[in-house]
Amino acid sequence: MKIIEVRNLRKQYPNHVAVEDVSFEVAEGEIFGILGPNGAGKTTTVECVAGLRAPDGGTVQVAGLDPQRDRTELRRVLGMQLQSAELPEKIKVREAMDLYASFYPDPADWSDLIERVGLGGKRDTMFKKLSGGQRQRLSVALALVGRPRVAVLDELTTGLDPQARRDTWELVEQVRDSGVTIVLVTHFMEEAERLCDRLALIDAGKVAATDTPWGLISQVGDEQRVKFRPSAPVDDAVLLALPEVSGVTRSGDQVVVTGSGNLAPTVTLALAQQQIVPEDLRIEQATLDDAFLALTGRKLS
């Protein structure tokens, strides 16, 4: 079942077209990613989905609701974490949760929710004393306090350190496991690859492609590279004889084998038969970055 349907969305600002033509569907229970460089129109797109902006063209439906017409109803089924929206400096975590819970007819138990986002020990801490990661987690908790069916998370991990980012990713997965559909806006390829079931690549206000992360990557070809330092000299011919291998190059004592399919196991097996151990073995595959480059002619970041 499709919980979000966006068709030919268009949004124009006085001086530029932010979203030219965006269409996608989100299935209930998935993590759907919207990936693109800064200024691609990602935030404007989800703001139209959340009813914060009126589209200039196209249609948007969320759980059968029109975000513009069914304003209040929509906000009861859709929770949104905004990019860089803060709270008053001196509000305490418990006060913010209690206040936002009071906005909804059937709110979640906020006390339980702040435990789940890992802020159980911070109930009486003021917003200004929270770290960046804690603020983001509070923000997620506030977006979830109304028991939404859909949660939109916009640039959730921007500005977080790597540890806080990984913690936040785990939180997103937990939220999805609790049955909430998630729309994740991001410009981090790694984040999209790790979390999203499906994603739309957006560039210059248009959808360049929509697929699973792996589907997008394989669109650009499945060329892989295996790099290693052989423990004993190895003849190129041995490797080139393998059907998966398309080329062999060397830099210093490092051997770089390019190819496709089950490249790495085939190469290591062939080496093992020669009693050669591949040291410092590394496998490089195409990434979403490469897919984005191939599809739009532009780099993601």
């Binding site: 906000r75 905004l82 929206a85 709270l87 008053p88 001196k90 509000i91 206040l99």
Partner: protein, 243 residues
């Protein structure tokens, strides 16, 4: 609504230094000026003393102008700048509710300030309570609403929380002057008083003082204050930005 009122009131009280300006300063000035300047407590030609109506109505104006031109714009522009209003607009509750709650809290602080002024005057100088209580309450509420509407316009126009107090001060000091804070309206040159008559703060202060001293406020003064409320209230609604 009740919860928002409680939380916002707590936040307001956590920034208690602002109460020094909206309650402490007017009451302190009333006492210091009244006790230290002999002419304040001498009966004038009509038998009225300055401490009975003139001085406390000016201090009430000071309190309300500080709330309207300084506190309200600072809070609201900060809320807008930090995305507090925007975050609220993602919930079923419209951020206009937060604005209403803030105005209510500031009005209550104005009421408390005026009540303390009346009480302090009675205790320190034996001043009578406002002699036209119904007219006094009406003028107070109408004038407070008009000044708060001006505060909303400042909040709408100020680009951020840092510039809001500056813009507020640029509006506040002329209004205090035209309200008669430094030169009482009675001794203003005619041309200046004519300007004062249309400055919202001027007719408000005059009507408040009249009701305090036991005279009926002039309809013309009330009309200007009411017009100020309509004009600035309308402007605020048109100009206010939630993000």
């Amino acid at each position: 609504m009740k919860k928002m009122l409680i939380v916002e009131t707590r936040l307001y009280l956590r920034d208690w230094p602002s109460l020094l300006f909206t309650i402490g300063l007017p009451v302190g000035l009333l006492l210091v000026l009244g006790l230290s300047i002999p002419v304040m407590t001498e009966a004038g030609t009509s038998g009225e003393r300055m401490v009975d109506a003139q001085l406390p109505s000016m201090m009430t104006l000071l309190a309300l102008l500080t709330l309207a031109c300084n506190i309200v714009p600072a809070v609201l522009t900060t809320y807008r700048e930090r995305g507090v209003l925007r975050r609220m607009s993602t919930t079923p509750v419209h951020p206009g509710r937060l604005l209403g709650v803030q105005l209510l809290i500031n009005l209550v602080v104005g009421v408390v300030s005026a009540a303390i002024l009346i009480g302090a005057g009675a205790v320190a100088f034996g001043s009578p309570l406002p002699r036209q209580p119904v007219a006094f309450v009406f003028v107070f509420l109408l004038g407070s609403a008009a000044l708060l509407a001006i505060g909303l316009v400042i909040a709408a126009l100020a680009p951020n929380g840092k510039t809001a107090p500056g813009i507020g001060a640029v509006v506040m000091f002329p209004l205090m002057f035209l309200g008669g804070m430094w030169v009482p309206r009675e001794i203003m040159p005619d041309a200046l008083r004519a300007v004062s008559d249309f400055s919202v703060a001027g007719p408000f202060a005059q009507a408040l003082k009249d009701a305090w001293a036991g005279q009926s406020p002039e309809l013309g003064h009330l009309a200007v204050v009411a017009a100020g409320l309509v004009i600035f209230g309308g402007l605020a609604v048109r100009l206010f930005r939630w993000e």
